[in-house]
Symmetry: C2
Subunit: 332 residues, 2 copies
């Protein structure tokens, strides 16, 4: 593949390469007629200005990094879609990186993005510790953290979902349905959002004057199988529980399976609220009541923040907070 360069166009149009550059970039100081002529030649030749040459000169690549733990997880996939749409609309390209939840890989990924001189970075990194995160992104240009708080500093923003207040809404909903013994199931201790949701649940239960037993809280991997096993266990040991708030919908689906096996009809014998509202939650039987995460919006808002940082990196903006929304369906 032999590439058309700016010189080819210049020669063919009988102008200098500056003039071609001006035409391609809508710069001022060029006769409209010349511009048209140049653009016509460029089109005819199939000239596509090299972003790599331009990037070397301008120090801007119109490329962004987007780092997620697992693109095949429907939650992150939606975030990625939201973010990509905003980037595309702004004329930016996105380097997508999977970290598979491995810290070493995350470091390697960030180095690679640095080498590519991305103009900014969107980072979804639930598992790195604050210190790890700080050192990892220190060398990088504007960064937006998704669902993750970090000390404010210039060039860094975060977009969060208010897990604690979401948990409160969920608990109040269960309480309004007459439940008093409410448990919390799932999530891992090293996950930011699991801690937040669990804490929010605790506070809400206390605030509502309901009984609170630490044994009503049980962790699990954030998967269907993890939820099933943990629910089997928790419900066997604590038959007094009449309602469960699950860490996420996958866990909640596992709870549904467990309830079927235990012959505890949902919602009559056990009420259940999930979290995320993944598409499939609406199709299971009974359809899942859940706290809907604004998934695409999370990606969109984060990307918008990133553009603000790119345009004015001096500011250290307030963290943006989005809210989860209660979707009442058949399990409560």
């Amino acid at each position: 593949v032999v590439r058309v360069t700016i010189l080819d166009v210049a020669e063919r149009a009988g102008v200098s390469r500056q003039t071609v550059s001006r035409a391609m970039n809508d710069s001022p100081g060029i006769d409209p007629e010349t511009r048209e002529r140049v653009l016509a030649v460029a089109r005819a030749l199939g000239y596509r200005p090299s972003t790599v040459a331009r990037g070397l000169k301008t120090n801007r690549t119109t490329t962004l990094g987007l780092v997620v733990p697992d693109i095949a997880n429907p939650f992150f996939a939606e975030v990625v879609r939201g973010a990509s749409e905003v980037a595309y609309a702004a004329g930016y390209s996105v380097l997508l990186c999977n970290t598979t939840e491995s810290p070493e890989r995350e470091y390697a990924t960030l180095e690679m993005l640095e080498a590519h001189r991305v103009d900014g970075l969107l980072l979804v990194s639930p598992r790195l510790t604050d210190a790890q995160l700080r050192s990892a992104v220190s060398a990088l240009t504007p960064v937006v953290l998704v669902n993750r708080l970090q000390a404010r500093r210039p060039g860094l923003a975060s977009v969060l979902v208010n897990d604690a207040s979401g948990a409160q809404v969920a608990v109040e909903h269960l309480n309004s349905r007459g439940h008093r013994n409410i448990g919390f199931l799932g999530g891992q201790n090293d996950s930011h959002s699991a801690r937040e949701r669990r804490e929010g649940y605790r506070r809400a239960v206390r605030r509502a004057g309901l009984p609170l037993d630490p044994r009503w809280c049980e962790g699990s991997p954030p998967t269907v199988e993890g939820g099933r096993t943990a629910a089997q266990d928790l419900l066997a040991r604590h038959p007094e529980l009449t309602a469960l708030l699950a860490y996420n919908d996958l866990v909640a689906l596992g709870v549904l399976q467990a309830c079927e096996e235990l012959e505890r009809p949902v919602p009559d014998s056990l009420a259940l609220v999930g979290w995320d509202d993944i598409v499939f939650s609406a199709w299971v039987s009974p359809p899942l009541t859940t706290m809907r995460m604004p998934k695409a919006q999370l990606g969109e808002v984060a990307m918008q923040q990133l553009f603000e940082l790119i345009e004015g990196p001096e500011r250290a903006p307030e963290p943006t907070t989005l809210d989860a929304e209660l979707i009442v369906r058949g399990t409560t």
Copy 2:
């Protein structure tokens, strides 16, 4: 952010930039001791060679384009994951692009990837016509088409799933369960795979000596709702049908909903085979019998093919074919 360049390292290490380059690239012709010293300095300074400068010089960007219709679709998300993993292992970065099934957007995307001088392209484009596709990728370097055939030419490869033989397996399975009146539901006419599966179904039914009625075939959007509506319709008009092959699992889930509404228990009153094996198919009730698509493998194999093309672009390799696998669960 002030960047460390090769000259900074050279100066600090007391060598020329060429020597730094040799050290960073493991090139021969450098004293091991010098290399170590240089690498130490580079590490100390946090030197990260610019892939954009290197790309300008070498004409290789170690960046690939990955174009999918919708990253939030779990099927494509898995393909993307498989492809990304292989790319990452080979030290390549991936520009991910969503086309949202819009041809104009797909063109714009390909132009952008061209401008970025990607070293290769993985294209999942079920909706573009052959002619559109041909012109769209003509300017681009090595291209691998996923699930899509194209005239063989150098620098172009395809990875396909054998839809027709998969359909045959599904039909034979239903036949072995004693079903004779088998319908086909879902998919659109402008989708390559929908046509292939439908044709495969027809051939298999004929080959098995079963009755074949064109009215037993009905199209629908490839969604749950599309499947539900189409199934309502088809089953009402053709009560003689005892089994259905669905275009994909989403459609099949819609069929399950319709059967519940029509009070036709699955699999006793209607047997059902889906296609894709998305994660949730195993969790619905009854769990879905389906043709499992090798999703991640599709991405992996495609990416491997792409690397082969990149290394030796003269060849026009045979299309690679993968097979769908019958997963028998509760709906048959």
